[in-house]
């Protein structure tokens, strides 16, 4: 007897995976909202300071003036009398820059370690995974605090520290993907025609492992921004570069007298990370074949 499929005799047209992913992504209102939110924040950060050319370090009005009391500083002033609005507009640059850089560092270390461990297995895997586990027992924020304290709170050090403390999760994910894919037929086929390891790792397996890694990379940007904010809150950010984290860090003592000094920059971080994570969720749905048909 022939084994026949009853579900679908009319096979759907072949669609480019990226086009299909975009079609699913587009159908999620939450994902589109996240994309819109992040786009606005990025555009304002890039072009806002040109249109609203107020020095965020300049003292413009009486300290701790509430929002909507003076036209000079429409969103109020901080504890030194600096314009909140100017800080919010310009502060996104440093926060986003550190977030994206740190996420890149995380992804690069993570994929490198995960790919080598998951491809070679054996003692390479053992050694790399022990190192990964070692990094995972160090509470990431505390470790980053130590690094930044020891090596000066400049933006590159902050980004580097965040990358160094957060790669293990990415490495584990990459390793699992590489282990799964290396056993598939097309990798064996590649090996049987004499492809070198390097080619198999980067040209054959990596492209096929990319979907979950892209999702994780997106979410990592959000985590990195939260890290940067946390370090800033503890006073570990570059005091000479205006960032949302710096605003929170310098305003935290005045919370009970002036709600806006921390609430506003915190809300900006929240909205940015919200946008990033909604996009990440949308990408996850878009790349996950199990969820596509729902």
């Amino acid at each position: 007897m022939t084994v026949l499929d009853t579900k679908d005799e009319s096979l759907p047209r072949a669609e480019h995976p990226a086009a299909e992913a975009w079609r699913v992504f587009r159908s999620r209102p939450a994902a589109l909202f996240g994309l819109l939110l992040l786009s606005i924040i990025v555009i304002v950060s890039l072009f806002g300071p040109v249109l609203y050319a107020v020095d965020p370090f300049e003292i413009v009005w009486a300290p701790l003036t509430p929002p909507f009391e003076t036209e000079t500083a429409i969103l109020g002033t901080d504890n030194l009398g600096r314009d909140m609005l100017a800080g919010l507009i310009v502060g996104g640059r440093a926060t986003l820059l550190v977030g994206v850089t740190a996420a890149l560092i995380t992804i690069i270390i993570g994929i490198l370690v995960g790919a080598l461990a998951g491809y070679y297995l054996g003692w390479v895997d053992d050694v790399l995974m022990r190192i990964t586990e070692f990094f995972q027992v160090l509470p990431p924020l505390l470790f980053a605090m130590v690094l930044v304290t020891l090596f000066s709170p400049s933006l590159p050090v902050v980004a580097m520290s965040i990358g160094i403390v957060s790669w293990p999760a990415t490495a584990r994910l990459a390793r699992a993907e590489f282990m799964r894919i290396r056993g598939l037929e097309y990798v064996s086929a590649g090996r049987s025609i004499g492809a070198r390891d390097g080619r198999l790792i980067w040209r054959v397996i990596l492209p096929n492992a990319l979907a979950p890694l892209i999702v994780s990379a997106t979410l990592t940007i959000g985590v990195a921004i939260l890290f940067e904010a946390g370090l800033s809150f503890l006073g570990l950010s570059d005091p000479n570069t205006m960032s949302w984290g710096l605003m929170i860090g310098s305003g935290r003592q005045y919370v009970l007298d002036a709600w806006w000094v921390v609430t506003l920059p915190g809300a900006m971080i929240f909205l940015t990370v919200l946008g990033v994570s909604l996009i990440g969720d949308g990408l996850n749905d878009a790349f996950n074949p199990k969820l596509r048909e729902r």
Binding site: P139, A229, L274, V276
Partner: protein, 324 residues
């Protein structure tokens, strides 16, 4: 068989602890400047007398491996160095504070696990229902909001608008009368910090439970249970949940370092007298021995927590229990 596993894991844990000590040692030497300065905690500001005594105590004039040996030997005896800022042994400072941090972390974790899995199970009964959507919303917000910001928002709300819970410190001397009164007062002070720390993980666990329950509920053995005539309540509570919590145990173990990190921020926000506020204060004072001691000690806490979750997982999942 289980005993062997425990012994193997214990040895591995000890190796990890030593590795963290080595890292601490390397950090002191990698940091810019004279290690003696770093240990004194004042870059270039310490008196020559203090520096000389440090060099002698740590053997800084000897080869590096000798210094490492001296450092490890001291640590094995519980000596994590001297805080020149507090003028006290680091280990004493830490032991003084660790209880408060553990209380905060475990309360938050318990809250997150109990409420999170409950919400997740309820949500899994109706994948498109109100609770399901609520779980999705909470999890996205919980994931995106900076934890210290959530805490500060709560402080703003509870400081003046709804003065139900204290917003700072661990107890109030005037209200802590007798051991029972003290416990009650601490519990009262614990509400906001534990909630702030817990909500992040509650968000993750509820979402994870929902996903994992939905997967388990679609499995063949649930169909078998129904075919046996098991009631829906027991299908969820006994057959499905036992399997669905397995990934939660794994995640909670893996995240323990993250929870301790979150506690640092929450403690700072609510002035909770634990390791986090100690870390914050020692960073302000550039008190390196203390901050490195805290890093070491919290890594030990994570190692112990991982050991416990690992064993817990083996008890919960017979497939793993038998495997090794």
């Amino acid at each position: 068989m289980l005993l062997w596993t425990v012994i193997r894991r214990l040895i591995y844990s000890v190796i990890l602890v030593v590795a963290v000590l080595v890292l601490n040692f390397l950090l002191i030497h990698l940091a810019p400047g004279d290690p003696a300065d770093v240990i004194a905690g004042e870059m270039g500001g310490a008196t020559e007398e203090v520096l000389a005594s440090i060099r002698k105590a740590y053997g800084l004039d000897q080869p590096l491996y000798v210094q490492l040996w001296v450092y490890l030997k001291a640590a094995a005896g519980g000596d994590l160095g001297q805080s020149f800022f507090y003028n006290a042994p680091v280990i004493d400072l830490i032991l003084d504070r660790v209880g408060a941090t553990l209380l905060l972390v475990f309360t938050a974790l318990g809250f997150a696990i109990v409420v999170g899995t409950t919400l997740g199970v309820i949500a899994s009964r109706k994948p498109t229902g109100i609770v399901s959507n609520l779980v999705t919303v909470i999890s996205v917000i919980g994931y995106s909001a900076p934890i210290f910001w959530t805490g500060i928002m709560l402080i703003i709300v509870f400081a003046s608008l709804i003065p139900l819970f204290p917003i700072s410190n661990m107890y109030d001397v005037t209200k802590s009368v007798g051991p029972f009164g003290y416990a009650l007062d601490v519990a009262h002070h614990l509400v906001l910090p534990a909630f702030t720390l817990g909500i992040v993980y509650l968000a993750q666990y509820s979402r994870l439970t929902r996903a994992s329950m939905l997967e388990v509920l679609g499995s063949d053995y649930i169909r078998t249970a129904r075919a046996k005539g098991v009631s829906e309540r027991k299908v969820y509570g006994r057959h499905a949940l036992r399997n669905a919590v397995l990934p939660i145990i794994t995640i909670a173990g893996l995240q323990f370092g993250g929870i301790v990190s979150g506690a640092v921020l929450v403690e700072t926000v609510f002035n909770w007298p634990g390791l986090g506020t100690l870390a914050f204060d020692s960073i302000l004072a550039r008190d390196y021995p203390t901050i490195l001691g805290i890093l070491f000690f919290s890594a030990v806490i994570v190692i112990v927590a991982n050991l416990i979750t690992d064993l817990l997982y083996r008890v919960a999942d017979p497939r793993i229990r038998m495997a090794k």
